[in-house]
């Protein structure tokens, strides 16, 4: 009997990033158009403010804003605390050089310590939250001064992990990266010319000396992103196990995801009427 050749559909490779690949050229044009539309057309602003941490997310946003509004209309702000690394400060300057945006420095040490001196027992998490909220206070105030708005830089992975300070990092009214996994941010960042030293360094909130995101998570971004991709598509944990993802890594991702749904919403309001805002009285953000 002559055997016919068998052509099978490719089996999923859990080490493959194929599902996370984006068309960087197309997506860059789209994000630039998004920023122009949200900032200029809808809100009527010609300028924007962005916190430049020296990390890849804010570097990418700075370059996108420069393309969308013109670099002279983008105001980057470095906001170091006394423990912030020199690399972060230096890399923010690289972002300025790569994008041509304005850059100023506002040190937050006195502001943060002015409060924290009353809380000597505050642990690293509390201190980090205080710093994040002070930085956002500054960004909004500087925006007010310039008559514009701050632009957010949080990516989808950290949003899904709840790895940010509520009503701080997540509070700017416009965010071009919020639906992009970290792996995708890296791809676009390289495409638009974010300096390689920034793209390839370990991501860090830089709230504590030596801190890295992946150290905090216990899993790398690329591995987390692959699992998140399938979880968000609706795959169950047994299915992910069957596909070959390690149980421990699935657990890390799932716990962070499931434990932070609240963080991705506005405050819970007691519903008392049939005109309750956002329950009954519904209007889109741009209406």
């Amino acid at each position: 009997m002559t055997r016919l050749p068998i052509i099978s559909a490719p089996v999923l490779d859990v080490e493959s990033d194929d599902n996370l690949k984006v068309n960087v050229e197309l997506l860059t044009d789209w994000l630039v158009a998004f920023l122009q539309d949200e900032i200029t057309r809808r809100r009527g602003f010609k300028t924007a403010v962005v916190g430049v941490s020296g990390g890849v997310d804010s570097a990418l946003v700075a370059i996108l804003l420069a393309r969308a509004l013109g670099p002279e209309n983008v105001f980057g702000i470095r906001m170091p605390y006394k423990t912030s690394s020199q690399d972060s400060l230096d890399h923010a300057v690289l972002v300025q050089q790569a994008s041509g945006i304005n850059l100023q420095t506002i040190v937050i040490t006195d502001a943060a310590d002015g409060y924290l001196q009353f809380c000597p027992d505050a642990d690293g998490r509390r201190r980090g939250n205080v710093m994040a909220r002070i930085r956002m206070t500054i960004l909004f105030d500087q925006s007010q001064k310039l008559g514009t708005i701050p632009v957010g830089t949080g990516n989808k992975t950290e949003r899904l992990f709840g790895y940010y300070t509520w009503h701080a990092d997540d509070s700017p009214p416009v965010n071009p990266l919020g639906d992009l996994f970290k792996s995708q941010v890296w791809d676009i960042a390289r495409y638009v010319g974010v300096p390689e030293v920034i793209v390839s360094k370990p991501a860090s909130a830089d709230l504590i000396v030596g801190q890295t995101d992946e150290g905090d998570f216990g899993i790398s971004y690329p591995r987390a992103d692959r699992i998140l991709f399938y979880l968000l598509r609706g795959f169950t944990v047994p299915r992910l196990l069957e596909m070959g993802f390690p149980q421990e890594e699935i657990g890390i991702v799932k716990r962070r995801l499931d434990g932070t749904h609240w963080k991705r919403h506005l405050p819970t309001t007691a519903m008392l009427s049939s005109t309750s805002i956002n329950d009954y009285y519904l209007r889109p953000v741009d209406y």
Binding site: L20, W30, R283, P284
Partner: protein, 316 residues
Amino acid sequence: MKVHVAAAQIKPRKGDYPFNLNRIGDLFEQLEDERPDTDVLVLPETCLSGYFLEGGVRDVARSREQLFQDLLALYRSRVKRTDAVLDVCLGFYELGDGKYYNSAAYVTLSGIDSSVPAALVHVHRKFFLPTYGVFDEKRFVSRGRSVAAMDTRFGRAAMLICEDAWHSVSATIAALKGAQILYIVSASPGRDFSGQHIGNVARWNVLLPCIADEHNVWVVYSGLVGFEGGKGFTGASQVVDPWGNCIVKGSSLEECLITATLDREDVAAARAASPLLADLEAALGDVTMELDQIARHPYTGMVAGSQDTGNTGGVR
């Protein structure tokens, strides 16, 4: 018979019916100056208000009569030639029968000295309302109950709105009812940036040629562009010939007008080479019985292949 069509992809101002209506007046003027031979202008879904309105639908919805009167008054005020005539197909939120609908209207607009009477030709109410993910239509508008073909100055045609076209049965019904031109209006939010084209555009790029090729109809597609609250619509308006070839396409980002000349004789030529529609018409009795059976007996209660295997013990 040649039909000169123009499809405009525009960014409406959110919730501002008068402003958006006036924009259409600008298009009337542009066409009169630059493309005076245009027969039909096609505009996207919800082009008079923007798409994501939630409860704001109540503020912007208009009756079909009001819309027709507004368009006719606009046309006569903005077009210089008093004997000019133009057909317009456009999407709007409709207030009718005590309900709100996501609708598309086809109207004939003519100047006061034209021999062609102005007319409200037909209104199609969206048949398939997307209510999943980013979409929430069923919450705010009612569903249309039919897919009709209509007789226009340029032959028999039909309108579909966005998800209507994602169900192959909609175009099939329209073709069976005699439509030779399908006007498809859409507000399609961009999502999935992994491929050569934005994901939903890639889907349209497959769907529209498939519709045209299966039923050998002309397809004129007009897509909204611009962002609404971070959700960007992907334009990519296009005209597809009855063999399934896209002959003109707009971009995914910018406002534009695309134009093409449709030759209705192409429909017959394509059908002669590929008589799929005739095959379907011939088998329509059996197809109808199959569909009727499915409608009467829930799928879950059926025994797969019972008829073919001679097993008559199922619910059939």
